[in-house]
């Protein structure tokens, strides 16, 4: 039996590792991540279904758009912790 290691098949396994584990820095120059609940349970639950859709190419465009939009909002220093609901000021 060979170990499986591709992003689509093991995304949940990846989540378990990179959200809860890894080297911990104990220093007060760390930025505390108040947003961790945002990427907790609901994301874990939703991911399996999302991967299936992505495999069939249903969300590729949306994925790309969302990523660009989030980047634009971050660059502008806007609050990315809330979903974007405004009209598209974001340049396509």
């Amino acid at each position: 039996m060979e170990p499986v290691r591709n992003t689509n098949a093991t995304l949940v396994d990846l989540l378990d590792r990179i959200l809860d584990k890894g080297v911990v820095i104990n220093a007060d120059v760390m930025i505390s991540v108040a947003g961790i609940p945002l990427i907790g349970v609901s994301l874990r639950a939703a991911l399996a279904g999302m991967e299936t859709m992505r495999q069939y190419g249903l969300m590729e465009d949306w994925d790309e758009q969302t990523r660009n939009r989030e980047k634009w909002r971050r660059d502008k220093g806007l609050d990315t912790s809330k979903p974007y609901r405004g009209k598209s000021a974001y340049p396509r």
């Binding site: 820095i25 007060d28 947003g35 945002l38 991911l47 971050r74």
Partner: protein, 255 residues
């Protein structure tokens, strides 16, 4: 603006290197060396990456992992950090200085971890069983359950119902015992094949399978075949199935 540093991992070599724009949102990734080690980072603002948009977060997480994999391939031995670890400047020092201060404080500990993890990788092992198959087997082999089941057939409906409840309770207890027994058996088997085992929480699965064991295993990369052979034997039994993932950077063995 980009005064903070997002940290992906620490590598066991003093090397100045740029990896190109492979970071979160295509950020340029590079190393900050200090003494005999270096940290792999990108420049960012002093605020965490967070979003309610799951697809955005998903792409960040995948990028985080890909950077660590790339560094792992290059350096051979890395200590991964969790998602969203960001060091910011303070009144006295800029972010790189603060990172170096942290490395200085933890240097001995970090070097020990590198030593322990040299040449090794993490593997995920999850064992599932099919509860119905197990229950059926128990009904055939467990004396008390077999007798009860036989008696139910000869009882009037009201009595049969009570007997059925009794049977269910005994079956449930026996299932728990079986899960424990198999856990111990498989654990022992796997523990002999790897260097270190961490027991993780079992998780709900959506289909008819049920997870009875969830382990993170640290093993020399070249020994994974040995482990795989053992797992295959478990996987081949009709009551069980095994999920074997890796090699992962040693996330579960660096804390």
């Amino acid at each position: 603006m980009s005064e903070a540093r997002y940290i992906y991992c620490i590598a066991n070599r003093d090397e100045e290197k740029t990896f190109g724009r492979i970071g979160l949102e295509k950020s340029p990734v590079y190393t900050i060396p200090w003494k005999e080690i270096c940290v792999v980072v990108h420049d960012c603002v002093s605020s965490p990456y967070q979003s309610e948009d799951q697809e955005t977060v998903r792409s960040w997480l995948v990028s985080h992992e890909r950077v660590i994999e790339t560094a792992w391939e290059h350096f051979g031995n890395v200590l991964p950090l969790g998602f969203d670890t960001i060091v910011k400047p303070d009144e006295e020092n800029d972010a790189p200085e603060n990172i170096k201060k942290w490395l200085m404080n933890d240097y001995k500990k970090l070097k020990q971890k590198f030593k322990k993890l040299e040449g090794k990788a993490e593997f995920g092992v999850q064992v599932f069983w099919y509860p119905q198959a197990i229950a059926q087997k128990l009904m055939e082999t467990h004396q008390q359950l077999r007798n009860l089941n036989k008696e139910i057939q000869s009882k009037p409906p009201g009595m049969a119902y009570l007997y059925k409840q009794k049977l269910d309770t005994i079956l449930r207890n026996q299932m728990e015992k079986e899960a424990q027994r198999y856990f111990e058996k498989f654990y022992k088997q796997i523990d002999e094949k790897v260097e270190e085992v961490k027991v993780e929480k079992v998780k709900k699965s959506e289909d008819e399978k049920q997870m009875i064991m969830n382990l993170s295993c640290l093993s020399p990369s070249e020994n994974s075949k040995d482990l795989g052979d053992d797992l295959e034997k478990i996987d081949k039994k009709k009551e069980f199935s095994v999920r074997f993932t890796g090699p992962w950077p040693p996330y579960s063995f660096v804390q």
